[in-house]
């Protein structure tokens, strides 16, 4: 059964230097509060995993928490590029960042394999692309039944997966709805998991399209209201689009970035 604990305690207990960590959220329910707590606790040498690394990964990378990034699309959604990610790849600032790059279809199937307890996943993808050439974790495989040439990608089993959800009950059962992304797969694929929630309630009720992660499938739950800001939690908070636009300017400059992080996160 998941225990409900304060966020700082949850991150201290679950996230260790050198871990592979997936903070998932497909442009909705992005666990910003948990990412900021990782930065405050000064975790280092993390392998960060995410389909769509965005602002919170830009912040983790710019603060030197990451050694490696496993991803499929790294940008500021609806705005443009990530300048701290770009600076790390192009100029090794503040430290070199190794990258392992996939397509969305490949990444999501890696989580599916991880959640399924399988060593790899099969898909029809990457054909003729530079990713098949440059990424070690993309390999051809022949279907034993039809002889069709397909692509294999290895399972992702993060040491820790962290997601944000709308609600949990007091026993730690978690409910999320709207764009549910890859959160379920990320949690089930992980060795340890943390779910931050907008609200802790006595009883979960029915919601159209909601999924439930049972308490016994999660390590820890933390109450983190507005924990996905500046992204959004459907039914609770809205996307702060002005901040996404403002981040483009803040993150272009190393000093402006560092000053912003000192003032708002540390």
């Amino acid at each position: 059964m998941a225990r409900v604990v304060p966020l700082a305690d949850a991150v201290a207990e679950l996230v260790r230097d050198g871990d592979s960590v997936a903070l998932e959220g497909f442009t909705h329910l992005i666990p910003f509060a948990a990412g900021h707590e990782i930065i405050r606790q000064g975790r280092r040498d993390l392998t960060l995993i995410r389909m769509t690394p965005d602002l919170v990964y830009d912040q983790l990378i710019g603060m030197g928490c990451a050694r490696k990034l496993v991803f499929s699309w790294g940008g500021n959604p609806g705005v443009g590029s990530l300048h701290r990610f770009r600076d790390a790849v192009q100029n090794s600032w503040p430290r070199p960042l190794e990258i392992e790059e996939h397509s969305h279809a490949g990444m999501v199937n890696r989580y599916v394999a991880g959640a399924s307890g399988l060593p790899f996943a099969v898909l029809r993808g990457y054909a003729g692309t530079g990713l098949a050439e440059h990424t070690e974790t993309v390999k051809p495989i022949t279907c034993p039944f039809t002889g069709e040439e397909l692509t294999a990608v290895p399972a992702l089993n993060p040491d820790v997966s962290i997601v944000h959800a709308q609600r949990a009950d007091r026993r730690g059962n978690v409910q999320l709805w709207g764009i549910t992304g890859v959160q379920k797969e990320a949690v089930l694929a992980a060795r340890r998991s943390l779910v931050t929630v907008e609200e802790v309630v006595d009883e979960l009720d029915d919601r159209r399209g909601a999924i439930v992660l049972p308490s016994w499938a999660i390590s820890l739950v933390s109450h983190a209201p507005r924990g996905s800001h500046p992204s959004y939690s459907l039914g609770y908070t809205v996307r702060d689009n002005d901040f996404y636009v403002a981040w483009d300017a803040i993150s272009r400059d190393r000093d402006a970035f560092t000053a912003w992080m000192r003032e708002h996160v540390l």
Binding site: G74, T129, I179
Partner: protein, 240 residues
């Protein structure tokens, strides 16, 4: 460009507007369309508000049949989820819906596109030591290969229209239409080389060649795009 109509409310037609309207027209009513962020989303939403109210918009965030009442801020906009016929997880959207070829039109943007219609959204320069690191592939490689036809919308510049892309993010083997701020390009049926098939009003072949990094050829009887109607332009300007 000289497509301006002094009577057009809100000012003359810009090249970007001409491009978006041309792209929107390619989306026939009732078809299913996998929509990328940025210009594709604008064009697809314009199509829904003009000639194609039954166009099925599918975003990689898992929203199938989204009917946004304003232009979404990103593929994860809550308005997409709230107006969709159904919302599915990301595993399902790629595995059940895209991969088997269920979706008719794939609609993508590009940082670079080359003579043979290969698309780059990964890096400018060398992969190991890039001049400019771009966001990367996202859903594009499988959208490009699994949809029955692909539309790419991209501004035509010598930087974006190159002889050979720096990195092959996506390969399009089926029917392809490339829509730019100057005109329309389609692959030669034999060689797959992109050739100009239409120019927008006011754009010239000379200009299109200047803004293309290979020796661009045009099909005989090059068409001229119809300028935006007042209804198209009003709908587009109300979107943004």
């Amino acid at each position: 460009m000289s497509a301006e109509n002094p009577l057009t409310p809100g000012g003359p037609v810009t090249p970007d507007e001409m491009m978006t309207v041309t792209a929107a027209r390619r989306l026939r009513d009732g078809r299913s369309c996998f929509v990328g962020i940025g210009l594709p989303s604008t064009a697809a939403n314009l199509a829904r508000r003009t000639h194609a109210p039954e166009l099925v918009l599918i975003y990689e965030s898992g929203t199938i049949g989204a009917k946004p009442d304003r232009l979404p801020l990103s593929i994860g906009d809550g308005n997409l989820a709230e107006t969709a016929d159904t919302v599915v997880g990301v595993a399902e959207i790629f595995n059940y819906w895209l991969q088997p070829g269920r979706i008719e039109v794939g609609f993508l943007g590009a940082a670079q596109i080359d003579r043979y219609g290969r698309v780059n959204t990964t890096v400018i320069g060398d992969y190991a030591d890039p001049e400019v690191r771009l966001p990367g592939a996202g859903g594009a490689p499988e959208i490009a290969s699994a949809c029955r036809e692909v539309i790419v919308i991209v501004r035509q510049t010598p930087r974006s229209f190159v002889e050979r892309v720096d990195f092959v993010t996506s390969v399009i083997r089926g029917p392809l239409t490339v829509i730019t701020d100057l005109g329309v390009l389609e692959p030669d049926p034999e060689t797959r080389e992109l050739r100009l098939t239409a120019l927008h009003p006011g754009a010239t072949l000379e200009e299109a060649r200047e803004k293309t990094g290979w020796d661009l050829s045009a099909v005989p009887g090059l068409a001229v795009t119809e300028p935006p109607t007042e209804a198209e332009l009003t709908a587009l300007r109300n979107l943004e």
